[in-house]
Amino acid sequence: MIEVYREERERFQKVKRFLSNGKVLFGGVVLLLLIFTAITAPYIAPHDPNEQDITATKTPPFWMEGGDTNHVLGTDSLGRDVFSRILYGSRVAMFVAVVGTFFAGLIGVILALLAGYYRGAVDNIISRFVDIWISFPPILLSIVLMAVLGTGLTNVALAIILVDWTRFCRVIRGEVFNIRERDFILAAKAEALGNFRIIVKEVFPNIIPLLLVLVTLEMGIAIIVEAILSFVGLSVEASIPAWGQMIALGRLYIHQAWWIMVFPMMCIIMSVLGLNLLGDGLREVLDPRLKVMGMK
């Protein structure tokens, strides 16, 4: 009974520690908001994102002269509601962030565990491949890949996975190298546990804090990459509203209707800022060593 109580208490303190970090709190709220809009966009959007109204193109936001509360954030050059498109755009952002990050992380982590644990030839091969892969300029590589794969939502995620798995692989390999030297791994070896079991049960749990930080950062990067690809016209199909596309369109009308470009830009900036702060905060909470080192 007392045991249970203590566990509860410890868990409570852990949660409190996370929430008392302002960065984690802010980033967490941004992330939750993103997830919420991505899921509920069809229910909360006031308009169909593709509904055109050629009698009301480039309507300014409601607080400006000529604005209309029917279109809170104004309309674009085809008379589509900017606010509704932004809400729907969060779905693309969340899709690439979640799917892209998950698989990039999966590939990167598996290869890093193999390279860091087995070392020797395995590590040489994997590390060489990573070195070659990162010598490609990443933005150009993603554009080339999109030209090869063709536009579309899944292909954007695929391009992000193919370009960014190295980020996970490089960082985590180093961490595995260190963990492998620690006593509990030697102890597990002495107990004659199989390599696979040691990797899964002993090594992997120890890279989770670092992995969490990398995941939040990568989600921000994925959102940016989608915007970049949209910008050069190689992202999702034109019928799917995405923030990058809205920015690219808004840039053409920057002199007459700044709001077409600015609001989706704010969304990208806020999302990436939130995710970066979340990563930063997690690092502070999960790894107190860094605080001592003055890396705050």
Binding site: I132, F136, P137, P138, V144, V148, I247, I254, V262, G294
Partner: protein, 335 residues
């Protein structure tokens, strides 16, 4: 730093480039959209297509194509651009100075701003100056360069039209290119109006690229300064009665510059291949813009040329950074 180490690194570099070229070659060969068909008029016959394919060597199996390409590259011949009908190396060399000038400008800005803000933050630790520095760092890292670019255009090019937002120089100037670097060329010719026009055109794109890098420099300077100030020799300098400013700037900063050089060097390599969007936004006639045009027009020889040149610069910069690091920090000896 032994000769053996340098040779080893050079070999390593060569194999990396070989790997890059093989991967590019394979990826590009599965690209849909046949460049040959795109070049010919719609009424072209199958025979025309085959002939043109043979002319560019695209009718052979991929490994054979690769060996042929590699042989000519070894002779310095990167082939002819399908779309622009011009020598690939010539095209690349025409655009390289524009990108190099922009990236150098951005790096210089980032170093100056980053070192200044970083040092100031450490000296005024805990005050609002420090907090402001952290804010700059967080914003710099969270807003990608092309969004900075668009924000600058909106505020400084549209709302208040204070700075030019397109091209490298005003269209009324023609600068005779000697080096291809407009700032250098105009100075050689003592053309100061041309120089100021080129400089003004560079400010916004260079700052767009510089801000994310500035954030990185601030962080590195801060963390390494905080490390260094705990060392004995800094204590000694303090005991000697040197002023805080001398201690931080002369003694501590000198050591903090080692990790800064490493990181800025690596970032310089990344930036060379990362100017694509900023070049598009500011109509900057550099390598990034050339690369995107090449990709969209399926210009295989040109894509290969640009990617290989950028990869070459990337590994070269990394090699120099590594050697510099070993040189600056004699504690490290490589076998």
């Amino acid at each position: 730093m032994s000769l053996k180490y340098i040779t080893k690194r050079l070999l390593y570099m060569a194999t990396t480039l070989l790997g890059v070229s093989i991967i590019t070659f394979v990826i590009l060969r599965v690209i849909p959209g046949n460049p040959i068909v795109m070049m010919l008029p719609p009424q072209a016959t199958q025979q025309d297509i085959l002939e043109l394919k043979a002319q560019y060597g695209l009718d052979k199996p991929i490994p054979v194509q690769y060996v042929i390409w590699l042989k000519s590259v070894a002779r310095g011949d990167f082939g002819v651009s399908i779309h622009m009908k011009q020598d690939v190396m010539e095209l690349v060399m025409e655009r390289l100075p524009a990108t190099l000038e922009l990236v150098s400008g951005a790096t210089a800005i980032a170093l100056i701003l980053g070192i200044f803000i970083g040092t100031l933050s450490v000296m005024k630790k805990g005050t609002y100056v420090d907090k402001l520095g952290s804010l700059v760092a967080v914003l710099g890292l969270s807003i990608p360069d092309f969004l900075w670019g668009l924000l600058f255009i909106l505020f400084l090019g549209v709302f208040w039209q204070v700075l030019p937002v397109s091209g490298r120089i005003a269209s009324t100037y023609t600068i005779e290119t000697l080096t291809g670097f407009f700032l250098v060329d105009s100075l050689i010719k003592l053309d100061f109006r041309g120089f100021s026009s080129a400089l003004l055109h560079m400010i916004l794109p260079a700052f767009s690229l510089a801000l994310p890098l500035t954030a990185i420099v601030i962080r590195v300077i801060k963390s390494s300064l905080l490390e260094v100030v705990k060392e004995d020799y800094i204590l000694l300098a303090r005991v000697k009665g040197l002023s805080e400013r001398v201690v931080v700037f002369i003694h501590a900063l000198r050591n903090a510059l080692i990790p800064t050089t490493t990181i800025v060097g690596v970032q310089f390599g990344f930036l060379m291949g990362g100017t694509v969007l900023v070049e598009i936004i500011y109509s900057w006639p550099g390598l990034g813009k050339l690369a995107v045009t090449a990709i969209i027009t399926r210009d295989l020889p040109l894509i290969q040329g640009v990617v290989l040149v950028l990869a070459f610069i990337f590994v070269m910069v990394n090699l120099v950074v590594d050697l510099l690091y070993t040189f600056m920090n004699p504690k490290i000896r490589y076998g």
